[in-house]
């Protein structure tokens, strides 16, 4: 097996680095090929690409859930946050016990855990719901719980796999804004997979466009807007122009 995870391969400030990463399934299907990508702390990189291009697989490689068939992935796995497409909450646990799950798995003492959970629930605005079970929450609230659960570990690298894809537009925009303030506050490195070009441009310092399978990185765009970004950034001419460029690059891949 390829040695995937080690801190010594990381550059001075790289939170995540892919070099020459490829993934071929046992049946011979090439999922990803020659992926070069590095993400530093304080960077927020969004990945857009056609369906089935391996965007989510990229995150699985980044987290170590899947090992590459070639190349090296370097990441500090001890402080890695991962938010999945679904909220992946334990339905039998109350909100507070879901948020405390990772601390519990890492055997953080109870008192410390409870304080941390309370703090984090306040941060995502769910302190009033700590005694609820997930089934009574809306989709957006479940996603907030999921986010809070990862935040308790104070991640230095945060992976997002289309977390807001299933939400309505208003909720999605609100969560985008909340995510940005968390990003500014915590200064983690973010890697965000999405189908929405607007979401990608709004959130990121950099947008990466991938090709259809086998997935490769075909274009990168730096997003120049300074943080904090108000919601009005979305309506500026420059925003539309960048979104147009990303869209054009993406269309080139789909055609």
């Amino acid at each position: 097996m390829v040695h995937t995870l080690s801190r010594r391969d990381l550059g001075e400030k790289d939170a995540l680095a892919f070099s020459g990463v490829a993934l071929t399934y046992p049946d011979g299907t090439a999922a990803l090929d020659e992926v070069e990508l590095s993400v530093k702390r304080g960077e927020f990189v969004s990945i857009v690409g056609p369906s089935g291009c391996g965007k989510s697989t990229l995150l699985k490689l980044a987290s170590g859930l899947v090992a590459p068939t070639a190349g090296v992935v370097s990441v500090d796995r001890d402080r890695l946050g991962y938010v999945f497409q679904d909220a992946t909450l334990l339905p039998w646990r109350k909100v507070k016990d879901n948020v405390g799950l990772l601390l519990e798995l890492h055997k953080v003492p109870k008192a410390q855990r409870e304080a941390r959970v309370r703090e984090t629930l306040e941060l995502v605005g769910l302190d009033a719901f700590s005694e609820h079970h997930p089934r009574r929450l809306s989709g957006g609230m479940k996603m907030r719980v999921s986010l809070a659960r990862s935040l308790t570990m104070d991640p230095s690298i945060f992976l997002f796999d289309e977390p807001f894809g299933a939400l309505d537009e208003i909720t999605r925009e609100r969560l985008n804004e909340e995510l940005l303030s968390l990003f500014i506050d915590r200064g983690f490195a973010g890697v965000f997979v999405t189908h929405s070009i607007y979401e990608a441009v709004y959130l990121s310092t950099r947008v990466v466009v991938m090709s259809a399978r086998p997935g490769r990185i075909v274009a990168e765009f730096d997003i120049p807007f300074p943080y904090p970004r108000g919601p009005e950034v979305r309506f500026s001419a420059e925003f539309a122009q960048i979104a147009g460029k990303v869209s054009y690059a993406l269309r080139g891949q789909i055609a």
Binding site: L65, Y82, F84, L105, R135
Partner: protein, 280 residues
């Protein structure tokens, strides 16, 4: 069981409670009506029999009075009822313990599942009465043999349902636990086991009913030791005590219904806060 009391209570309860109870009342009204209907049909058939054949189906009140409430009737049949209840419960508990262990080992080791599951299915398919004589030879006409019949009949639903529940964990949750490098035991206790609860409780419910059947079949076959309901059934048949025969039959059914209702209640109680099956 408790539901049966609610219509009477509704009258004296506060309005809020009364409205809740009337919701319950609605749900027991149809079976209650059907019960009255069945009693009426029973009564009618019994009344239509010629006096010479009437003993074959005594009227409901005759069964109640002579078969159950008469002193020499209940002093004989109640201890038998308790006896059969304990036998079913004992066998059922053994089935739970072994069934859960077998399923957990299958969950842990796929090869064991592949090796053992066919035999589990085969065990389910073997007519228990076919192996009862063999068990009589090995264990004698003993309580041990009766208990084993209960275990054999009640066993299958527990490992089958438990395994299904253990395996049906959401893939994303498995990834989450793997991401945090949890060991097998942690995944088992914090993820797979609670996740399996709805299926496991379904298994309990099915198996509890089967345990009662197993106890009565076992008692009827072995006809030895302290008499339970199964032995009483055959005894009353021999003695042409049809009032008591029907009484024993009713108690056997009540035992099964009681077991089933208890586990339905338990399941609802444990799952209502999080599982769709117990919504509301």
């Amino acid at each position: 069981m408790t539901q049966l009391q609610s219509p009477q209570r509704a009258g004296e309860a506060t309005p809020a409670v009364a409205s809740r109870n009337s919701g319950r009342g609605r749900s027991i009204l149809p079976p209650a009506l059907l019960f009255c209907g069945i009693l009426a049909v029973w009564e009618a058939i019994s009344a239509s029999l010629s006096p010479g054949r009437k003993y074959l189906l005594p009227s409901p009140q005759s069964v109640l009075v002579h078969g159950l409430l008469a002193h020499d009737a209940y002093s004989q049949i109640l201890p038998s009822f308790v006896r059969t209840a304990l036998l079913s419960l004992g066998g059922f508990l053994v089935a739970i313990v072994f069934g859960m262990i077998v399923a957990a080992v299958m969950y842990r080791f796929r090869w064991f599942e592949r090796a053992a599951f066919p035999y589990l299915v085969a065990l389910q398919a073997v007519p228990v009465l076919a192996i009862a004589p063999l068990m009589a030879v090995v264990f004698g006409y003993s309580d041990m043999a009766k208990g084993l019949i209960v275990v054999l009949i009640a066993f299958f639903p527990i490992p089958a349902n438990f395994l299904l529940g253990l395996r049906s964990v959401d893939a994303g949750l498995v990834d989450l636990f793997r991401l945090h490098r949890t060991g097998w035991w942690t995944r088992f206790f914090k993820l797979a086991l609670p996740n399996s609860l709805p299926q496991l409780l379904t298994g309990f419910r099915i198996s509890a009913g089967l345990a009662v059947i197993g106890a009565i079949v076992g008692e009827e076959f072995f006809q030895a030791g302290v008499p339970g309901l199964g032995m009483r059934l055959l005894q009353y048949l021999d003695q042409v005590e049809y009032n008591r025969l029907y009484g024993a039959l009713i108690l056997s059914s009540l035992l099964g219904i009681g077991f089933y209702s208890f586990f339905t209640w338990l399941s609802h109680r444990l799952l209502r806060s999080w599982h769709e099956s117990a919504a509301g």
